[in-house]
Amino acid sequence: MRGATQILALQSASFVLRERIVAVLVGLFVALVLLSSWLGWSATATVTGIYIRSAAFLQASGQPVPPNPVLDISPLSLMRNMVVYVALIGALAAIVIGNQLVALDRKSGVIPLIGVRPVPPHGYALAKIAALGGLVIGLTALSALVSVATFAILPQTTLDGAGWARLAGFFGLSAIYMMILGLVALASAAFARAEGVGLLVPVTLWLTLTFILPALTSNILPTAALNPISALAPLPESPFFQWAGWALGPVSLADAYKIDSARLLGFLPQDYAVRAMVPPLASLLAALVLAAVWATHALTRIDLTKGDYDA
């Protein structure tokens, strides 16, 4: 027989998946993953098609035929759009999932009825974090499956063992990034007195991480968030941006995620220098730990006698 915490985690995940807004965001994320794969396939097929015709022309005119340019870049870089989709839609989906995992219980007012069940101390918090983890990993696994299928059917791209490991690393990193925002949403939904505030806090954080901080830590262009890595836009060299990159880099998590993703997928420029005072992965891991601590703290302090929102 399953333990109460495990049952609570499974049921919570199943209830959240029935929510329309969650289904829409998950569906949108998967659609974007498919789009990313199609874009990768389309770009490769187009370049290869042009190359084949050019090579035939060069061969016919007796000129040397250079190698296919597709083979000069990392095959994993075909996934570069995924980095943007995770930072934009994947993170938003994680926020909505994290929020709904707690908000559903609070809105329904069932927390006292759960509180009188033999759920161990911290069981509620563990169950919600486990449910969030399960859903984020499931979402990541689904997108990984689409990516693996893409690489399997693309004739020009073959991945060696290290390539597959880096692809797995990218999806692991994506799960960490989504989990950070999901945990903040969990904590905020548990902590807030009004439902709207519970959602507003993580969405504001998401906006700040995605659009505001990258403008200060890597470049000033408003389109920075839409570049897979900030390095694709020119880096300003003024002292202010040098200082802002160094000081704010550790909290500029979207940038940290994009930089390490670009490194893993093999499209980070060779000369790219990280300005932040700590390495991007360390920032992300520290943020994950802090978010988990905050979520546990907030979830264990829910008032079991009512649990619902004041408003």
Binding site: R2, A4, I7, R18, S108, G109, V110, P118, P120, T305
Partner: protein, 249 residues
């Protein structure tokens, strides 16, 4: 004298340093239907929250079926059922889905069978596949009661169970309480304002005033002292000066 299944010892609670429940000490024998009376804000619901382990007492403790509410809250939770004043459930789920969730959470081995049995016991099998969101107050109260007795608890806590119910709903609830007490030997702890309900349902009563227990006896003793007609009303009015908040008429 049967042993106490609920034994409260010097239990206190404070909110923002203000005492809400003060030095509560009394016992309730197994098989009793106990009515807990008191004016609004007397501390009845706070007492139930502490006894059901939803809130921790500021000091003192209580034992429910041998388990301490502070030292062994998990032990207490296995022995109790709880129906809050306003039963709230997952509105988007059906009654059956809600009950299956609580049955699983209570660790029941065959939740589906227990849910079906409980719905039949409460004459509401027809509600099983309907979404709770469209339920009336009375229907919600039935499903709320069902979730509380699914795991056959030894003690059932009801917080203002008749609040907002129509006469038919009140009659149904009264019958169910009597049946659970008679057939299953379930001890019932009921907060209510309705003296008539206490008179019809309870075997013993307690009156709370300013967080203190100011009266505790059997219904038999109350009837013997004040006569059978409106005995409770007589008793409650005689205790009114001690039970009403300062300045109340």
């Amino acid at each position: 004298m049967p042993a106490s299944i609920i034994s409260i010892r010097h239990m206190c609670q404070t909110f923002d340093s203000l005492p809400v429940v003060r030095d509560l000490t009394f016992g309730i024998a197994e098989g009793e239907v106990f009515g807990f009376l008191g004016h609004n804000g007397a501390g009845k619901t706070t007492t139930v929250h502490m006894l059901t382990t939803l809130a921790r007492p500021a000091s003192g403790t209580a034992e429910i079926a041998g388990a301490d509410i502070v030292g062994d809250p998990m032990g207490v939770r296995r022995q109790i059922g709880y129906v809050p004043e306003n039963v709230r459930l997952y509105d988007t789920l059906t009654a059956q889905e809600n009950l299956m969730f609580f049955a699983r959470l209570s660790g029941l081995g065959d939740p589906a069978a227990r849910v079906a049995e409980t719905l039949a016991l409460l004459d509401c099998s027809d509600l099983a596949l309907r979404r709770v969101g469209g339920f009336s107050k009375g229907m919600r109260q039935r499903i709320g009661l069902a979730q509380a007795i699914l795991h056959r608890p030894r003690v059932l806590f009801l917080d203002e169970p008749t609040s907002g119910l129509d006469p038919m709903g009140i009659k149904m609830l009264r019958d169910v309480i009597a049946r659970l007490n008679r057939d299953r030997g379930m001890t019932i702890f009921m907060n209510t304002h309705l003296l008539s309900e206490i008179a019809k349902t309870c075997t013993s009563i307690g009156v709370l005033g300013h967080g203190r227990l100011i009266y505790h006896d059997t219904m038999q003793a109350v009837t013997a002292r004040y006569g059978s007609d409106s005995a409770l009303e007589e008793l409650y009015l005689s205790l009114a000066p001690a039970s009403q908040p300062a300045g109340a008429a």
